[in-house]
């Protein structure tokens, strides 16, 4: 059945309005779309890392989640999901859950809880191959504590622990390519997506990930208006520019086979992505032009590498 956003939106919401996420934050959109990718007749258990999403969506005595939900700590979401999956398996085997009942186990965390502090437990769970899907909402820094740099922060971004200044042009290192690292684990399905257009790309990848047996992974670029410093209404525009500049290419890897899911008609200069965001403001100061050139070179190199893999 062809994807239709209107039809999708007619489904019952499983991530309720009234959560405390900021206006212009991508995480709420990710959660709604992630839950739409679970078939309505299936249940889910969501395992959430500590972070903005957790404190904003489950503040006692309210929860935004219609499905069962567990938060334990920051760095152990994949391990928690491993335990839920083990429980599901054993309860099915012992007849405590009817054979026909389907429960999807989803884990979700920010880049801090996924790329960095939660990396060990993610790697362990991927290697063990639990049947679950990990969604990373990558907003490029530790946003819950106030925009400290993470290993997902791009080079030259000003973060509160890598601020721009007279002696600094922001973060010195390029971001870790977590999607590639997950591919190297041999995961049966890995995808990179973001929030563009009618969310078809997100939906199709999320659905495929959730309904592929094994440990699957979806890395979602998820802008943060506070950390990236853009007007709330520009969220989708920034996502689109990330894709059209090839800063965040959309692709999937199914059993090791790479497939580009979107190729920009015209590859835009990185500058267009950077210029909308306060975190790159210093790059546009006279004398710092080289940073934009360096950012462009990096994106071009990564893009060519990806294209080679997708051939």
């Amino acid at each position: 059945m062809a994807y239709n956003l209107k039809e999708q939106l007619s489904k019952e919401e499983r991530f309720e309005a009234g959560h405390r996420l900021c206006a212009g934050c991508g995480a709420g959109i990710v959660c709604r779309a992630m839950m739409r990718a679970v078939e309505p007749e299936d249940k889910a258990v969501i395992c959430n890392a500590t972070g903005c999403l957790e404190v904003s969506s489950f503040q006692y005595p309210f929860t935004a989640w219609h499905d069962s939900y567990i938060h334990t700590a920051f760095e152990n979401t994949s391990a928690t999901a491993s335990g839920v999956e083990a429980a599901y398996n054993v309860m099915k085997r012992k007849g405590k859950i009817p054979a026909e009942r389907n429960v999807k186990i989803l884990a979700i965390g920010g880049d801090g809880g996924t790329y960095d502090i939660g990396f060990q437990s993610l790697s362990g769970a991927l290697e063990r191959g639990h049947d679950f899907t990990y969604f990373c909402y990558d907003n490029n820094a530790y946003m819950n504590t106030g925009t400290q740099r993470s290993s997902a922060t791009p080079r030259f971004a000003s973060a509160t622990t890598t601020p721009a200044g007279v002696e600094s042009v922001g973060k010195k290192q390029a971001q870790k390519d977590l999607t590639q690292i997950v591919v190297s684990h041999g995961s049966p399905y890995v995808a990179q997506t973001t929030l563009i257009g009618n969310l078809k790309d997100f939906h199709e990848k999320a659905h495929k990930a959730i309904y592929t047996q094994g440990a699957t992974f979806v890395n979602v670029l998820c802008p943060c208006p506070r950390g990236w410093q853009y007007p709330a209404e520009d969220l989708i525009k920034i996502c689109k520019l990330a894709v059209d500049t090839c800063v965040w290419p959309l692709y999937e890897v199914e059993n090791g086979e790479y497939r580009l899911t979107y190729e920009p008609k015209k590859k835009l200069p990185v500058e267009e992505f950077m210029s909308l965001q306060g975190r790159f403001k210093h790059c546009f100061k006279p004398g710092n032009e080289w940073t934009i050139e360096a950012a462009q070179q990096y994106v071009d190199k990564k893009w060519e590498e990806l294209l080679a893999k997708c051939k």
Binding site: S68, A79, S121
Partner: protein, 399 residues
């Protein structure tokens, strides 16, 4: 009918686990608890249990996986020691506050600095504020019996707290002793089925676990948890009473040995109790009114029971097998002494830190402690309240 066998403490605990057949076991190895999951892996391989056995990549993850499984509606267990327990630290608190009755077997071992694989309680004592119930065994029989009682205590409706079943690393975990095991069916009947009221995989009613609790709610959650820990005292005694009815072996919060008319007493925990009992026997034969209080349950702390047991003594030495670095004594002493504060009449009390990192504790050491207590009674002088025993330089030792 019980079965006579010869087992190490680790194999006794693994046997109890096999008989209980928990739903999920998440493991990560560390000396000296490693054998427990190793024995269990073989039970899985041989089809003796139908447990989901998850070989995780760290202790932080083993307890996290247990949290996920227990919250999902299962009995989840794990085992660890020393640095492994320390690495779990954060998750211990989360598991307790999430009120998940996970059972954690601890083969107690010294914490690093310098690295050491032998026994003391620096690992489990460091977690005394984590919200876990803690029960300590004197020998392999008690390790087995305590484990059989663990799930029922932890799962009691007004308790719902995780529990550590502690044995002394190597001394109990590896030493092979005679043991009475119970029949598999009898164990299963005693432990019963796990029937949680609320769990993640309950179809008709989803559950949310682990909220952000702002100041307006946090304190209520903590007070409820404190109440649960108080309730655990009664639950431990209830389960022990049923255990005695079923299997004939008696347990309490503490064990009093020759305490009725004791004038000099030692308060301690774990395998040292056997050694100290031998000293009590020798001294009693010489007419010395020596007695012993073995603390079986450390959390909840049986402060009133200990205070009551020693209130009539003239002098008491608390023996701490962990340093604590408070500068004025170990944790068992601090808590024991504080619980005596309101007694009408109380004994003179000293703390002796001993046995760190597997340092031997012999009958002679125990007798020296009683000799020191005799001297305190005779002179009325307490001397140093806090000292160390069993060091290489005996000039520094307990006189």
């Amino acid at each position: 009918m019980s079965i006579r066998d010869r087992l190490s403490g680790n194999e006794a605990i693994a046997t109890a686990m096999r008989q209980i057949n928990p739903d999920v076991f998440a493991m990560f190895p560390i000396t000296p608890s490693t054998e427990i999951p190793q024995y269990f892996a073989q039970y899985v391989a041989d089809g003796k249990v139908d447990t989901e056995f998850i070989t995780v990549e760290s202790e932080h993850s083993s307890l996290s996986a247990c949290m996920g499984a227990e919250a999902a509606g299962c009995r989840a267990v794990t085992a660890t020691s020393s640095a492994g327990l320390a690495y779990m630290n954060e998750v211990l608190y989360v598991a307790a506050s999430s009120r998940l009755p996970i059972v954690l077997a601890v083969s107690c071992r010294a914490l690093t600095g310098p690295i050491n694989i032998n026994h003391d309680y620096s690992d489990s004592m460091a977690e005394r504020d984590s919200g876990f119930i803690q029960i300590y065994a004197e020998n392999n029989q008690e390790a087995y019996d305590n484990y059989l009682q663990a799930h029922r205590i932890a799962e009691t409706a007004d308790v719902r707290l995780p529990i550590m079943i502690c044995e002394d690393g190597f001394i109990t975990s590896h030493a092979i002793e005679n043991i009475e095991l119970e029949e598999d069916d009898a164990v299963k009947a005693f432990v019963g089925e796990y029937k949680p009221e609320h769990y993640l995989l309950k179809e008709e009613n989803p559950l949310a676990v682990g909220p952000y609790g702002v100041s307006g709610y946090y304190m209520e959650a903590r007070v409820a948890q404190a109440e649960a820990m108080k309730n655990a005292k009664r639950a431990i005694l209830d389960v022990a009473a049923d255990f005695e009815r079923t299997f004939g072996r008696k347990y309490g919060l503490i064990e009093e040995y020759c305490m009725e008319d004791a004038e000099l007493a030692i308060v301690l925990m774990g395998s040292s109790a056997g050694t100290a009992k031998a000293a009590v026997n020798e001294l009693r034969a010489q007419g010395v009114k020596a007695g012993l209080v073995k603390v079986r349950v450390f959390r909840p702390f049986p402060g009133e029971e200990i205070a009551q047991a020693i209130s009539h003594c003239k002098a008491v030495a608390v023996l701490d097998k962990s340093e604590g670095f408070s500068g004025c004594g170990g944790p068992l002493f601090a808590e024991t002494a504080s619980m005596c504060i309101n007694l009408e009449k109380r004994p003179k009390m000293v703390d002796i830190v001993y046995g760190l990192g597997g340092r031997d504790f012999t009958v002679d050491h125990a007798k020296r402690v009683y000799r020191r207590l005799e001297k305190i009674v005779a002179t009325g002088e307490v001397g140093p309240i806090y000292s160390h025993m069993g060091q290489r330089d005996l000039r520094e030792d307990v006189q």
